[in-house]
């Protein structure tokens, strides 16, 4: 798996091609539409992150090689598009990488407003939740070492 810095730089490069907001949002909307569907069984309250404006479902599982696999969904398409970007960066990384990830691409591509707490679209809590999964899986690994 590529380094999360490289993936983020790749995204920044892609977004630098857009000259105006409209193209950028069209791209995000397309990403939202093409995000693989989350397993309907995962759309349970336990995985629900309730925002005031839009809702996010997030599921995480350990892969056989110790990485973390994320799937997610939202009822709003722009939120979903940004989820697709977050997943592209953090999916199938190690718990350590996820727990310590610095997500600089959000600001660089001008989407910081979507991750401001006042937006209440569930994305801020989603990023927090992804990192918590990283920390939790990390702790699990650490615990098993001592068994």
């Amino acid at each position: 798996m590529a380094d999360i810095k490289d993936i983020q730089n790749e995204i920044i490069d892609e977004f630098s091609l857009f000259s105006e907001w409209m193209e950028k949002y069209e791209y995000i909307i397309d990403l939202g539409k093409s995000l693989p569907m989350i397993d309907p069984k995962a759309k349970v309250d336990n995985n629900l992150i309730k925002g005031c404006q839009s809702q996010v479902w997030l599921q995480a599982e350990r892969t056989e090689n110790g990485k973390v696999h994320f799937t997610a969904d939202s009822d709003a398409i722009i939120t979903k598009g940004i989820i697709a970007l977050l997943i592209r960066v953090l999916d199938r990384q190690t718990p350590e990488t996820i727990a310590h990830a610095e997500l600089f691409f959000i600001e660089a591509i001008g989407l910081r407003e979507h991750l401001s707490p006042t937006r209440s679209n569930g994305l801020v809590s989603m990023v927090k939740q992804m990192k918590l999964y990283g920390i939790a899986f990390q702790a699990q690994t650490g615990w098993k070492k001592h068994l």
Binding site: W21, M22, Y25, E26, I29, Q53, A76, I77, I78, T79
Partner: protein, 410 residues
């Protein structure tokens, strides 16, 4: 006669400095007045002048400035009394806003008059601020919250209301104008019906006072509440009107300075109305600014405001309903200038985001009306709420923006 000849929109817009702003490269189209309206320079200047020249604590000092500040603050109260045509100044209490006003009544009235098994009657279109305070006091007192249902067009079900009033009902607390649906409720008739059973009525007037003349004596309402910031005044200040005989019977729930007559460690006697309910140093500048906002609205004239806003609402309804898949939420015949809608296959948040990029400010989401959203089975709406400074050109931009959003999203 053309309404535009009666109120000159271009000149009115000049009174509101913020309307000159650009947002995301476009002139601001501010269509979120239901959440908070903008202030005219007269209000901003009154607040500035107060802090620059007139500030001292009120109701306390013998010195010149304190006397002057007190006079200005009490003049504002008088201005607000005139604004709602209350019988007495001391029936007009300054609060932090509608929420604070409702909490005051729920606590002070509830503590004195609620017993286990009693009922408070609200409606299914209440803002959370007219639900939660009653829920809290009901829980404390073992009382029950009853709810008047809303019909599909956004009107209250009148028959259900009549049936829900009973000998255990201690208070009817309802909104004058719905913040989401725009419905103007037939409050005068509803109050009369409650009074036949000697049940007092509290109205949430937050969405009414920016749009129409309110006469509390004509309505014969027992409590009337509203916020400064929705009627072009400051944030953090609002009004609770209460009929004198109710206010006299209710004990205060906040203690402190200003609200007392004498204090000893054994016994405190309370001050007279309105001060009994105004503990602590008030938001003096806010009160003065709110008085100025009331003056501004009265100068403009509510007949002019209503006529022009009605024209805006009709224009916007006609324009917006041309969009394919458009679903209006709230189609009562008697409506304030609020347009709540959904478009098939799009989420309100997405549409709101794209409108924002076009410099158009609307509200999206549940509008602090979660039970009402559940009633209509929707996650939220896009809401455009108009004020007298909005124009048909801004509505054209809204309609074009919505079309553009739909093209991008579907």
């Amino acid at each position: 006669m053309n309404v535009r000849t009666m109120i000159d929109i271009e000149n009115i817009r000049k009174d509101f400095p913020i309307l000159k702003r650009e947002v995301n490269g476009y002139p601001l189209a501010y269509l979120d007045n239901g959440a908070s309206a903008q202030r005219p320079a007269a209000v901003i200047d009154a607040i500035g002048h107060y802090y620059r020249m007139e500030h001292a604590n009120v109701h306390r000092g013998v010195h010149f400035l304190s006397q002057e500040a007190t006079r200005r603050y009490e003049e504002a109260r008088e201005q607000l009394r005139v604004f709602i045509n209350a019988a007495h100044d001391h029936e007009v209490l300054f609060t932090k806003g509608t929420t604070d006003s409702i909490n005051l009544v729920a606590n002070c009235f509830g503590r004195k008059f609620l017993a286990p098994g009693d009922e408070i009657l609200i409606t299914a279109m209440e803002h959370h601020s007219n639900i939660v305070p009653w829920q809290m006091i009901c829980e404390e007192k073992g009382a029950l919250l009853k709810v008047v249902p809303v019909a599909d067009n956004g009107e209250l079900e009148a028959d259900a209301y009549a049936q829900l009033l009973n000998s255990r009902t201690r208070m009817v607390a309802m909104t004058h104008v719905s913040n989401t649906l725009g419905t103007i409720n037939p409050v005068k008739a509803m109050i009369a019906l409650a009074h036949e059973r000697n049940i007092p009525v509290l109205l949430d007037g937050a969405q009414a006072v920016p749009h129409m003349a309110v006469d509390v004596q004509d309505l014969d309402v027992d409590f009337y509440t509203f916020s400064g910031h929705k009627m072009f005044g400051p944030t953090g200040v609002g009004i609770l009107y209460g009929k004198e005989h109710w206010l006299r019977q209710m004990p205060p729930y906040q203690g402190g300075g200003n609200m007392i007559k004498t204090v000893s460690f054994e016994k405190t006697t309370y001050n007279t109305l309105p001060h009994k309910f105004e503990a602590g140093t008030p938001h003096i500048a806010g009160g003065i600014g709110l008085g100025e906002a009331a003056r501004y609205l009265m100068q403009l004239g509510f007949d002019n405001i209503r006529a022009y806003e009605h024209e805006l609402l009709e224009y916007a309804t006609e324009k917006l309903t041309k969009t394919e898949g458009m679903r209006l939420i709230g189609t009562a015949p008697n409506k304030a200038a609020v347009l709540s809608f959904l478009i098939d296959g799009t989420h309100p948040y997405d549409v709101g985001m794209i409108l924002d990029k076009l410099g158009i400010a609307v509200r999206t989401g549940h509008h602090c009306n979660q039970p009402l959203m559940d009633r209509f089975g929707i996650p939220g709406t896009i809401r455009a709420s108009f004020a007298f400074y909005n124009t048909k050109a801004e509505i054209d931009r809204l309609a074009a923006g919505v079309e553009r959003a739909v093209t991008m999203l579907q």
